[in-house]
Amino acid sequence: MKLVTAIIKPFKLDEVREALSAIGVTGLTVTEVKGFGRQKGHTELYRGAEYVVDFLPKVKIEVAIKAEWLERVIETIETSANTGKIGDGKIFVASLEQVVRIRTGESGPEAL
């Protein structure tokens, strides 16, 4: 099992969700986050006081999937979240040791 975490541009969320649903992903978790990468931040100016805002708003999605789905999911996120401009985000993949469905107590791949 794998946990795919992707940081994407907020306005791309719906597209990514739809694309993932289309390939059969049945659930994901979304968090509003802030951070910076190569895109850097921007400056704000209030009555002459200049603030450099380093952290830009992004959306983090987390998808837990069976290992054999990994390539498809990565490819789907990569295509649907892409704008070609700096700041499109990153995808992180980690191995997932255990998953439990709380309602039924099922565990392992059946719980996904």
Binding site: E44, L45, Y46, R47, G48, A49, Y51, V53
Partner: protein, 451 residues
């Protein structure tokens, strides 16, 4: 704190008999208060048109403080201090209402012992014969309006002036110290300055010929300079210049600025104390100067810093309102246009460059906008005054009189404010603790927060 309450209690006890007498006098028919403007020649008569406009103006000016100024300031602070900032304006409104009734009105507008051209103690302080509004009955008149309306109209000015100062010490003053400061400042600084400028023949600055239609010296220079002194005495906010202190919600600020703009018609046109051509001219120049100042600030910022900001245009509008305040009722449309433009550009400079140059933390620019804007307006009134509007023609001589009035106000309020703050610092402390300041005034002082 206990000492303060004890003192306050004592004052109330001493003044209580007057309160009872005041009620008696009010209910006794035929006893009218000797109003300032009453002349022996013709018995003054109530003008219902003027009265209707003045009651409307009073409501408009109250709207400027709550919610106008409260929102204007509330949007500019960080999220952890927004309730504390709104609370300051609201609590000041409530407290000054009571203080004005108890003694403030009397110190400002009691004309006992005043005589044209004679300088005595009553040129600076009104007596206490109107304390607890003694003698103000249903039929008392001030000019052609009921004294009750005049008193309430002036009360709303007494309310907004200390509320303006709160912008200078935002985010760091103890609520208890703010209340004590406001009470003392209102009675010892605001009321005397209002008396010197507005009480009529025998008033110190009135006799000098200082022109101040709606409060350039009394309200804006007074509050702005007091704010600067308070910012210097309290010191900068923790992390000032290093940590981000961006406004948390400029939507509130824009709504507040818009309410100030609308309410200001009551402030300026209402200061005619009549519904006449002069009031109409005051309304017109108020609108013109405000538009010009908003554009002045916006273009100065656009050229100087690259972008026309929302906070900038809103601040510019307020700067224009401030600057036209003393001039409305004296200047014509062209004068209003020039005063507005100059105020917009100069206040942009004072709020952005001067403050950084001198390194004081006037958090929301009470001095940069109200102090500087007030000075610009007070001085230019002396140049652009038109005789056919307010009875005085602009001239170098009048400019010098305006300069003198401005200087006297600055010196009186700077020294007085400093002494009050130092005394309170000794008696109760002015600033919240470092932990409270970090946590935010909302939770630390009021036990609430917005989310």
């Amino acid at each position: 704190m206990k000492k303060l309450f004890a003192l306050l209690g004592l004052v109330c006890v001493l003044l209580l008999p007057r309160l009872v007498l005041a009620e008696d006098a009010a209910s006794a028919p035929g006893i009218a208060a000797p109003a300032a403007v009453v002349s022996a020649a013709a018995a003054p008569r109530l003008d219902s048109g003027a009265t209707a406009w003045m009651m409307t103006s009073t409501a408009l000016v109250l709207l400027m403080t709550i919610p106008g100024l409260a929102l204007f300031y509330g949007g500019m602070v960080r999220k952890k201090n927004v309730l504390g900032t709104l609370m300051q304006s609201f609590a000041i409104t409530a407290m000054i209402t009571v203080l004005w009734m108890v003694a403030g009105y009397s110190i400002a507008f009691d004309t006992t012992g005043m005589e044209k051209g004679v300088i005595n103690v009553h040129s600076f302080f009104g007596g206490l014969s109107k304390a607890f509004l003694y003698g103000m009955g249903k039929d008392s008149l001030t000019g052609s309006i009921p004294e009750s309306v005049f008193m309430t109209f002036q009360m709303t000015f007494a309310i907004i002036t200390p509320a303006l100062i709160t912008g200078a010490f935002a985010d760091r003053m103890k609520f208890s110290a703010m209340m004590a400061f406001t009470a003392l400042w209102s009675l010892l600084i605001y009321a005397p300055i209002a008396h010197m400028v507005w009480s009529g023949d025998g008033g110190f600055m009135w006799d000098m010929g200082v022109l101040d239609f709606a409060g350039g010296t009394v309200v804006h220079i007074n509050a702005g300079v007091a704010g600067l002194v308070a910012a210097l005495v309290l010191g900068p906010r923790l992390g000032y210049g290093r940590e981000p202190m961006a406004p948390h919600n400029l939507t509130l600020t824009v709504i507040g600025a818009a309410m100030l703009w609308v309410g200001w018609f009551g402030f300026n046109a209402g200061s005619a104390a009549a519904a006449d051509g002069r009031a109409g001219m005051a309304m017109a120049v108020t609108q013109i100067a405000t538009g010009a100042a908003a554009l002045g600030w916006m273009f100065a910022e656009w050229i100087g810093k690259g972008k026309p900001s929302v906070l900038g245009i809103a601040s510019g509008a307020v700067a224009g309102l401030v600057a036209i305040t003393p001039a409305s009722g004296f200047v014509g449309p062209t004068g209003g246009l020039v005063i507005g433009l100059v105020a917009g550009v100069v206040c942009f400079w004072s709020a952005t460059s001067l403050k950084r140059m001198l390194k004081y933390d006037d958090s929301l620019d009470a001095f940069g906008v109200h102090g500087i804007g007030g000075i610009v307006g007070a001085l230019l009134t002396g140049i652009f005054a038109v005789e056919s509007i307010g009875g005085t023609q602009g001239s170098l001589l009048q400019f010098m009189i305006q300069l003198k009035g401005t200087a006297i106000t600055i010196v009186y309020t700077a020294i007085g404010t400093y002494l009050i703050l130092k005394a309170l610092d000794w008696a109760m402390g002015l600033r919240v603790t470092e932990e409270q300041e970090r946590e935010g005034l909302d939770i630390a002082l009021h036990g609430e927060r917005i989310e």
